[in-house]
């Protein structure tokens, strides 16, 4: 689930009721995935204004950078699911995308769907 910094600023303005509806949806959604036996893991990430990019400096010491272009997409949270087909993953992603926003209207957040590597052979090694 991705969003830009601007999306987060919008989110920060949601009413308490809208936030609660969204979080109730996320809880019920995770429970449904668990009950269906496809759930592996989920996490939500902190606001991107505290994000840092780290590179190794000359002696391997951390060099941090915290200035990002406004349009940069940040990960808001993720789900790992174990499914039979990509189509099933897309269906579940569409459900997450349709999570309720202000006034209960679907947010239609973009959900990036990627396969998890299970071994080096997946990389063609």
């Amino acid at each position: 689930m991705n969003g830009s910094k601007a999306n987060w600023d919008e989110y920060a303005k949601w009413s308490q009721e809208d936030l609660q509806r969204n979080i109730a949806f996320m809880r019920a959604f995770s429970k449904e995935l668990r009950d269906a036996g496809v759930f592996v893991a989920t996490e939500g990430l902190d606001w991107p204004n505290e994000a840092k990019t780290v590179r190794a400096g000359k002696d391997g010491e951390p060099v941090t950078d915290g200035v990002f272009p406004e349009s940069k997409e940040f990960l808001a949270g993720y789900w790992i699911i174990e499914v039979e087909s990509p189509e099933q993953a897309y269906k579940i992603a569409a459900r997450a995308s349709a999570a309720p926003g202000p006034g209960g209207k679907p947010v239609n957040m973009p959900i990036e769907v990627r396969r998890v590597l299970s071994s080096a052979s997946d990389l063609g090694l």
């Binding site: 780290v54 590179r55 990509p86 459900r95 349709a98 990036e112 769907v113 998890v116």
Partner: protein, 131 residues
């Protein structure tokens, strides 16, 4: 404090990666394995996954009836997550240290890749005020 360390790269970067020699690949994966073992023994490793190459990535939106609308065309400059580590550490500085270790992982000829690692805190360890 739980942090996620995301190794990021562009599609072009991943194509470069595919041109690495077998030996360079093996050296890199051996490095990652050792680092995971070290973090695991220190009780700091929570989770780790590698993701498949970005050319198989799709972005999904809910269509009108909630049906999935997929898109697989991305700008060349788009950054993709290549893999991530979730670590449980005492301070952000420790998370940055581990990120720097990852960034210094060996690339072709053993030269550090210098890959950027995005470091973010996991929700729940701080924003407890969320309903």
């Amino acid at each position: 404090m739980k942090y996620i360390l995301m190794m990021t790269g562009t599609k072009a970067g991943v194509d470069t990666y595919r041109a690495w020699s077998k030996k360079d690949m093996e050296t890199h994966f051996a490095f990652l394995k050792n680092l995971n073992k070290e973090l695991s023994e220190a009780g700091e490793l929570v989770a780790n996954e590698g993701l498949a190459a970005p050319d198989m990535a799709k972005v999904v939106h809910a269509g009108k009836d909630g049906t999935p609308a997929t898109d697989g065309v991305f700008p060349e400059a788009k950054e993709f997550v290549l893999g991530y580590w979730i670590v449980d550490v005492e301070s952000p500085e420790r998370a940055y240290e581990i990120a720097a270790r990852l960034s210094a992982g060996p690339g072709p000829g053993g030269v550090p890749t210098g890959l950027p690692i995005e470091v973010r805190q996991i929700m729940g360890s701080k924003h407890d005020e969320l309903p």
